[in-house]
């Protein structure tokens, strides 16, 4: 067992456990904070997979941006922490069947696929390749996304001004 394995399992455990708590936690602020650890665990896994840029973007966008916004929203809204999240009617049976089926299918696919294991070295820096690809092969998509974001920004600004 290498140290990387230990760290990988550690991150995986953090991700799974905190995700579990996000779902089960009754207190919505707690759930939001558990989400932080889920994101964090995912970041760790990205790092271990050699996707350092994606990991950092995950950290900046999800932890630094989206999550903070989420917590902000939750906190500012008064009396949200005591909301009873459980709905009135409980559909345990259909849910169990649905989840069971889904798990079965996914499990079967995972087990029955012939995974190709390629022994490639871990990429040292993904950034320059990523940058080059964004500005050559995927430049159209990149530009379109940029315009989309700009439109969203302008929309938000004009809404906030009203």
């Amino acid at each position: 067992m290498e140290i990387y394995d230990i760290i990988f399992y550690l991150f995986a455990a953090i991700t799974l456990l905190s995700a579990f708590f996000v779902v089960t936690s009754r207190n919505i602020v707690h759930a939001a904070f558990y989400l932080l650890f889920t994101f964090f665990g995912v970041t760790g896994i990205y790092v271990l997979l050699g996707a350092d840029f994606v990991a950092i973007v995950q950290l900046i966008v999800y932890v630094g941006g989206i999550l903070i916004l989420l917590i902000f929203g939750v906190m500012i809204t008064n009396k949200i922490t005591q909301v009873d999240i459980k709905t009135g009617t409980v559909h345990t049976l259909p849910a169990a069947i649905g989840v069971g089926l889904f798990t079965g299918i996914v499990g079967a696919v995972i087990l029955n696929t012939e995974w190709r294991i390629v022994d490639s070295p871990m990429p040292v820096a993904t950034l320059s390749t990523l940058g080059e690809m964004l500005l050559t092969e995927y430049v159209l998509i990149f530009e379109l996304l940029g315009i989309l974001l700009l439109v969203a920004l302008i929309g938000a600004a004009s809404m906030a001004r009203k």
Partner: protein, 357 residues
Amino acid sequence: MIYEWLYNITGSSILSMFVVSLLPLFVFILPFALLAVLAERKVSAHMQDRLGPMRVGYHGILQTVADIIKLLQKEDLVPAATDKKLFNFAPLLVFAGSYAVFAAIPFSSIFIGSQIQLGIIYIVAVTGLVVAGILMAGWASNNKYSLLGAMRSAAQIISYEIPTLLIILTIIMITGTLSLYTLSELQTSYFWNWMILGGPATGLQKILYIPLMIIGCLVIYISTLAEVNRTPFDIPEAESELVSGYHTEYSGMKFAMFFLAEYANMFAVSAIVAIIFFGGYQSPFGYLGNAIGLHWLVPIEQFFWFTAKGLFFVFVQMWLRWTLPRFRVDQLMAFCWKYLIPISFVILLLAGLISLI
């Protein structure tokens, strides 16, 4: 660097990684915090015609040690109406966030926690953890002042990240690297190679860069100042309005954690400014070790220069703190959005144009 060296000695990757990860804490953060707290009090005292702490040790040198012993002895007080889980966890998160920054800071050419390629962006990213910790602390305290402080703090840190990132982007564009180590190596030898004086560029380009870099340096210094909640941007803990913001309810060792994090952050942002604009660990006038042939002396010299630069910027932070009044929360935001962001955009644009020359 250090990691490889330790790995060669011990032969155990786990052990050496463990040691490397704890190294900045014991080699740097704790001694620095001890010194900086004392320095803060002494600097403020002398600026105000006072003497500051004078009792413990010669001229109060051991005052911080005494303070820490006091904080350790204090009862760990958790107010009844708090959200205990989050209340206890928040200081850890804040400290973890500011500690993680040190992983990527090159103290000298051989003393780098991790030679991560995305150094600068990584530092910006992990500060996000600090924001989450502050929000957690503010919310868990169940105190309106704490909550207001936490909100202000989060809003402030997020807004001021934009000009910081834009200036960093400019530097990335010019130098083509995200690694702090490479950035430091680029500005080698003499002070005219520092980024503030145009970096390693030559000719007309260099001359054109200089004004941009000076303004950029100013912008990034101001916005990092805001990110660590120092005066004139200390509205999250503004003691005359919000008592002390998000850590109002904390006492004892948990309060010390916030305090440690604050001082660690102070140094971290100063270090970023030093690395980006002032050559990082590079000496301004060549190395004594190279001159007299003792090459092992160079890393030590580098460490000295790096801490000296960092501490100078920390001193400027203190100096500003004891000189200026604080902004109001809306003015703070207006300052960021109306001044810093447009200016940094213009710098980004101009730097891009100049780099085409």
